[in-house]
Symmetry: C2
DNA sequence: ACCTGAACACCGTTCAAGT
DNA sequence: ACCTGAACACCGTTCAAGT
């Protein structure tokens, strides 16, 4: 026997933290509770994560990776109608956000310097969004359009998860209007572009 | 002299807490630090706020009231072109969010049950947005359109404040595209409405 | 080489005792 | 009637000591 093989893992710790986040909120993600869920004591976690801030950042990164998979799976692909792709991506993200509202809100929460998810995780998750945006408005405006789509989806689902829609009316109808508005508005923006569209 | 007139006030406490939030983040808003800023010890705060959660909620409410003032002041009024009104409101909110990014992010952060700002504060801040939305898409879709506009503005500024736009390109251009996209998309949505527009 | 109990600083909160 | 020090439970983090 080698001396003391790890009784837990970073993966298990992050998963336990994320489950706790969803069940009880970020304040409930304490080192002691996470440790207890993976069958260990709080000090042992420091063998796997630098500190609590790094754990929270890792939870956010894990959520970002899941979003990347969810969006990639939902994208019908480059051959499809851009408006239909946008629709599919937006609904898939909202489905994720309704299943994991606190993880969704964490995606773009300010966690302080050095605590953001690696750029590559964000870039991978954004890829299908940028692709659809390019199909809608052209390559040169693709990044800007992707940001608009992401801002709407993140803002809407964050507000929904926080219970901010309290003035009555159907939240589903509001989301549908958002998708239709963005699809139509971006389609119109393509024709507004002043310079070459490159595709 | 009556015995021991209050040496601080709820207003001063909330203002100190909000300043601290902006300067150092939500984690730095501790009862001891806030108390120190208003010249008192931590236990005294409990004469003015129920607990820390209530203080944070009060800070969020204070921010919401300021947003209400900012938007009301920025709205050129019912006689103006709806697209220009939308533009003015959106830019005013972004100006607020760049001045007070952590307050802006707090506006729709999930603070747990019973910790949301009073409905009336949200309703007052939303009023010009709903008005502009009504001018763009008609009364029956006004609330849904206002939610779309708010979701975009909140999502975009939250992402910007968190440093989420890291893939290059101009953030200003992205915001401009968002405004133009929503104005045009909502204008088009009006014509799409199936039933009476009532106004 | 990882895990643990003990320890420390810090935080939210309560409360009896001051004025 | 508000303010305070003292106290308590809890939390993040470190570290020497186990195995």
């Amino acid at each position: 026997m080698s001396p003391a093989p790890s009784r837990t893992s970073r993966t298990a710790i992050v998963a336990a933290g994320r489950a706790l986040l969803e069940e009880e909120g970020l304040d409930a993600v304490t080192m002691a509770t996470v440790a207890s869920r993976v069958g260990v004591r709080a000090p042992s976690l420091y063998k796997h994560v630098r500190d609590r801030a790094a754990l929270v950042a890792a939870i956010a990164t894990d959520a970002g990776e899941e979003v990347g998979q969810v969006l990639a799976a939902a994208d019908p692909g480059a051959g499809s109608d851009p408006a239909a792709r946008l629709d599919g991506l937006a609904r898939a993200f909202r489905t994720f956000a309704r299943r994991s509202p606190r993880s969704a809100a964490l995606l773009f929460l300010d966690l302080g310097p050095g605590a953001a998810a690696p750029v590559e995780v964000g870039a991978r998750a954004a890829r299908p969004v940028v692709e659809v945006a390019a199909a809608l408005v052209g390559q040169d405006r693709a990044l800007a359009a992707a940001r608009v789509l992401t801002a709407f989806a993140y803002g809407f689902t964050s507000m929904e998860g926080a219970g901010a829609f309290r003035l009555g009316g159907s939240v589903d109808v509001s989301f549908d209007l958002g998708i239709a508005t963005l699809a139509e508005g971006l389609r119109a923006a393509r024709q507004t572009a002043a310079t070459g569209e490159g595709g």
